[in-house]
């Protein structure tokens, strides 16, 4: 194990001394993210101002007969959100939920009967608006949630302003003492109770399998991991390339004349690739946190995703190496695969905008799984919410390792 680690650390050192590799591992994803942020206006507009998504299909069921239900529908149908959303009004709750379940829409927004009345009646318990989110479209669901939160926050601000005005009128004697006392006590008690409970008096209930509880969605939280995962594939193939380069430089042959086994050499090379990939992701995440003030989410989840994504990508690098004969072949195949996985895995285009069969096909890429995971974390998820993502990445890595080792074992003449 010690020699495996020594070999891996040697490769890690060499990778970070290779200027061309550093350019592609760190500078390129960072600059591309920066460029995309500039294009989308993320650096000049508030987080979440632009998502890169278009025409998110959403169903609206307004069962409220008051002003707020109507206002909420108007917000979703407003010109400002026309490019982003594709809202449709519905009446049948069961049919609408089915549309979400069948992945025909990103979510259902249900305004309950009496919602306006519950908000405007002092002392009444405010009813909650329901978002029935589509778990297979976490990004779109996050955006719907962010819009709803914004709407409800404004309503809440208006309600508190009204109560404050009542109290102010009481103090100034603009209300009759008998009326003022009753109204003031009621408003004061309500606000105090809400403050102690620590919950928003106007709320949103989020439903749907695998749903998370997002706060807001920052488009950079999609771009940055997209680019990082794209160039992680470069690192994985770079590792494969160094394996064949060692053979060409005769250091592999020299290694095999020392008291070092083929397994140790093989393990060291793979561990080196894995560590390089993990360090690359770690640096990119750390730098984007500092420079873009990007919130990647739950620390444990981020670490787990870095580890599992690097493992899966290393598996792909190993498979390419098993097929290729020269470092040049690894570089060519690796570059093609990196781009294909970037497109297929959602690094350039949001997967939700691609046809369903492409979305299914995207599951062969570490990019798609990784992006899902980072999106979940960016929307407020934790390590516990990453179960299926981590399983997918680990399964992919393990399968690729098994196949690659089998191929290497069949073709044992590593040095002849």
């Amino acid at each position: 194990m010690k020699k495996t680690l020594l070999l891996a650390l040697k490769d890690l050192k060499l990778a970070f001394r290779d200027r061309a590799a550093i350019l592609l591992m760190l500078a390129a994803p960072f600059l591309l993210t920066l460029g995309m942020a500039l294009i989308t206006g993320r650096l000049s507009a508030p987080a979440g101002a632009s998502s890169g998504l278009r025409d998110i299909p959403v169903l609206l069921i307004n069962q409220d007969d008051g002003e707020l239900g109507k206002a909420l529908v108007e917000v979703f149908q407003s010109d400002a959100l026309a490019g982003l959303l594709e809202p449709r009004l519905a009446t049948e709750v069961a049919a609408a939920r089915q549309a979400v379940d069948e992945d025909r829409v990103a979510g259902l927004i249900l305004v309950p009967p009496g919602f306006s009345r519950s908000v405007f009646t002092p002392g009444a318990q405010a009813l909650q608006v329901e978002l029935y989110a589509n778990p297979s479209r976490p990004t779109s669901a996050g955006i719907l949630e962010a819009i709803l939160e914004e709407f409800l926050t404004r309503v809440e601000e208006g309600r508190i302003a009204g109560m404050t005005a009542t109290l102010s009128m009481l103090e100034k004697g603009w209300l009759l003492p008998a009326e003022a006392e009753a109204a003031g006590r009621s408003a004061g008690r309500e606000l105090a109770a809400q403050e102690e409970a620590g919950v928003a008096p106007l709320g949103l209930v989020l439903k749907g399998a695998g749903a998370v509880e997002p706060r807001s969605f920052d488009v950079m939280a999609y771009m940055a991991p997209g680019m990082a995962l794209l160039f992680l594939m470069f690192t994985a193939t770079y590792g494969g390339r160094t394996f064949l380069a060692e053979r060409r430089q005769h250091t592999l042959q020299r290694l095999l004349t020392t008291p070092t086994t083929v397994g140790q050499v093989f393990g060291g090379k793979m561990l080196g690739t894995f560590l390089t990939g993990a360090l690359q992701l770690g640096i990119l995440i750390g730098a984007s946190s500092v420079l873009f003030n990007l919130k990647w989410g739950d620390f444990g989840g981020v670490v787990a995703l870095i580890v599992c994504s690097s493992f899966a990508a290393t598996g792909w690098g190993l498979l390419i190496t098993a097929f290729a004969r020269t470092p040049g072949q690894v570089a060519s195949i690796g570059s093609a695969l990196m781009l294909a996985f970037g497109i297929l895995g959602g690094s350039f285009i949001n997967l939700e905008m691609l046809p369903p069969f492409v979305q299914i096909l995207s599951r062969i890429t570490p990019n798609a799984w990784g992006l899902d995971g980072f999106t979940i974390l960016a929307l407020g998820g934790t390590l516990a919410d990453l179960g299926h993502v981590l399983t997918g990445l680990l399964g992919m890595g393990a399968a690729l390792f098994a196949v690659s080792v089998g191929l290497f074992a069949r073709n044992r003449n590593l040095v002849q």
Partner: protein, 314 residues
């Protein structure tokens, strides 16, 4: 001295092609053994099998009591290898390379540090210790390549043509290093296609050609196989082909054999002085313009010529 290496009918085949054809020889502890042969003779393939890089097709070799086929790991602890190619990490420094390879040989801590310092001293690279290998000259890289093979103080050192492609000064330094290592007790198997190196270094020489060991013994024993013959080497102007005229030279008085090379003829006979006048006269008759004339005493190259009909550099 007991043998540290015994080679038993070593064979390596690549498909239908036999690269090494049943080699048998042994090397005594403390000896420098020269394996001399032209390029492609099978020297590197032999060394690769002996250093456990790949297994022989058949046969075996015993190093320090361990089989290269069955006990490769034990063998690797006894041997050091200096490959023909520069097998170093270009983007690691000289010291980092030595430390890494030392660790691969199981060295660690204080001992590793001391051995690295010693290797830097042996190779004369102390001042370049922190420089990356890619910034070194070819000769320095060669010296470091040797230094790596010495780190763990092997009992048997394999050196595969360590002077290929370097300047005369570095070559001299490497040959002196080999002699010094041997004086310190290290056994060395040294492959080369330079006759002069084998003559200068080796206590015993094996001559290999087309994968076969065609001669084996001390230099004196080998040279005796050629007899007392001297070689008269006639070098002509470069545009003149001489192969067709070899027969005429073979009929000259005192000439026992003639070998034609590109633009030269090697005449073997009892006395070069006796062969010279008629040879020069014949050159004039057939219109060959002589450039140089060289008389060589019996040596390994003459032996190779005698045994194979070809020069070592062919």
């Amino acid at each position: 001295m007991p043998p540290i290496l015994e080679v038993h009918d070593l064979v390596k085949a690549y498909g239908d092609t036999l690269a090494v054809k049943g080699l048998r020889f042994s090397i005594a502890e403390g000896e420098i053994f020269g394996l001399l042969g032209p390029n492609g003779a099978g020297k590197t393939t032999t060394l690769s099998m002996l250093s456990t890089l790949f297994p022989p097709t058949s046969g075996d070799a015993i190093i320090g009591g361990f089989s290269v086929v069955k006990q490769a790991d034990q063998v690797r602890r006894l041997i050091g290898v200096v490959p023909q190619e520069i097998a170093l990490y270009e983007d690691l420094s000289v010291r980092e390379n030595l430390a890494f390879w030392g660790q691969m040989y199981g060295l660690a801590g204080r001992e590793l540090h001391q051995r690295v310092d010693a290797a830097l001293g042996q190779t004369g690279l102390q001042e370049k210790a922190t420089h990356r290998v890619r910034t070194l000259s070819g000769g320095m890289k060669r010296r470091l390549n040797i230094g790596v093979g010495l780190l763990h103080r092997p009992r048997l050192l394999f050196m595969d043509e360590p002077t290929v492609g370097i300047d005369p000064q570095s070559r001299r330094a490497i040959l002196d290093t080999v002699k010094e290592l041997n004086r310190q007790g290290m056994t060395i198997l040294y492959t080369t296609h330079y006759m002069e190196e084998a003559q200068e270094l080796a206590h015993r020489v094996g001559i290999i050609d087309h994968g076969e060991l065609i001669a084996l013994g001390t230099q004196a024993e080998l040279v005796r196989q050629v007899g007392e013959q001297q070689t008269l080497r006639l070098q002509f102007e470069e545009d003149q082909s001489v192969a067709a005229l070899a027969e005429k030279f073979a009929r000259l008085p005192g000439v026992a054999r003639v070998k034609a090379e590109d633009h030269s003829l090697a005449l073997l006979g009892e006395s070069a002085e006796r062969m010279l006048p008629p040879a020069v006269q014949l050159c004039g008759e057939v219109g060959l313009r002589l450039r140089t004339v060289q008389i060589q005493e019996p040596n390994l190259e003459a032996l190779f010529l005698h045994l194979t009909g070809r020069a070592l550099r062919d």
